[in-house]
Point group: C2
Chain length 216, copies 2
Amino acid sequence: MSDFELTTQNRVRRIPARGHYDKAVIYPIIDEALICHVGFVEDGLPYVIPTIHARSGDKLIFHGAKASRMMKQIASGATICVTFTLLDGLVLARSTFHHSMNYRSAVVFGQGRPLTDETEKMAALEVLTEHLVHGRWQDARQPNAKELNATAMAELTIASASAKIRTGPPGDDDEDYALPIWAGVLPIQQQYLPPIDDSQLSEGLFAPEYIVNYRR
Amino acid sequence: MSDFELTTQNRVRRIPARGHYDKAVIYPIIDEALICHVGFVEDGLPYVIPTIHARSGDKLIFHGAKASRMMKQIASGATICVTFTLLDGLVLARSTFHHSMNYRSAVVFGQGRPLTDETEKMAALEVLTEHLVHGRWQDARQPNAKELNATAMAELTIASASAKIRTGPPGDDDEDYALPIWAGVLPIQQQYLPPIDDSQLSEGLFAPEYIVNYRR
């Protein structure tokens, strides 16, 4: 039994062997992704907006400005699609046809609700901040009442989801392996360079360990 | 005059100063991005699918399997939203409220049509392959008639678009600059590691220069 039932909505149709329906596979992709792409429908038209997210159990947390179209849509309870994509490599086959990418992606569907209670919003902002930079919430100046009020927040309950993953070397047609064409994988990873101090930094302040050694 | 008219569809509402409507700003983001997220509406529900793209003038090119829901939607002529996102850094302010990211994103709307003519498909596949790895098309074994037939292709004419860009250091409230909290930017970039030879590589073949020194 998968955690998420296979439906016409979430079923991976192309290369079904790459499809996964368990939280143990899907949730780590959501947690590793720095951002996601939120899809919604307005006046019958599709919109895809990149944004920061965080996961708390079976819920996704989002924040934005009060006037944000995306935040209104998430809070409305309409079905939202949220997609997470991690690129792991370029797959260079001998044939152009078998060129591909190594990746881990997750597609989630669900309905949201606004977070309006101050305690609830504060807790959700902590989860969002910690998703971005673990350790930052305790160090930074936390939101005051005015900031909290200016921030629209919503949580989306994950109702359906799937992951699609490709790993490994290229898969060429048998007769192509003898061709004098280089084939292999060019691995991709997100690299974090040394932090740049703000030019107005007070004297004697240094980037904390969780920044210097930042990893996901 | 902007290249793309500001409408309710493409206007950047949150922090309008970050909005751009010129091809000279939007197209380099599309060209640098390895992949995009395609949004479409089916039975009133939103779908967001990550995929490889390429740009040719004012058109975007996509390919996929014949049965692909995304490819059918793009070819149908329905309005599609395609979003491109490049992450450049984590922006760590003194206040959690002013935490942000440095990024360059582009949101495109348009209508597609199927590519069915063999010559047209071949030309589009060359553009797609070269978008992924410049120099690869001449080296790899090019598509044969069977592969060409198995590949669904479509082009989407860009009708409306905008970019949103954030750069630079955090912007804190005046009274927060004196706080004993480190602030700055953690730069992010996509890193390409040394290529991994396919284990079935013929003897005497080495990764070509355009792979070893791969950049976007």
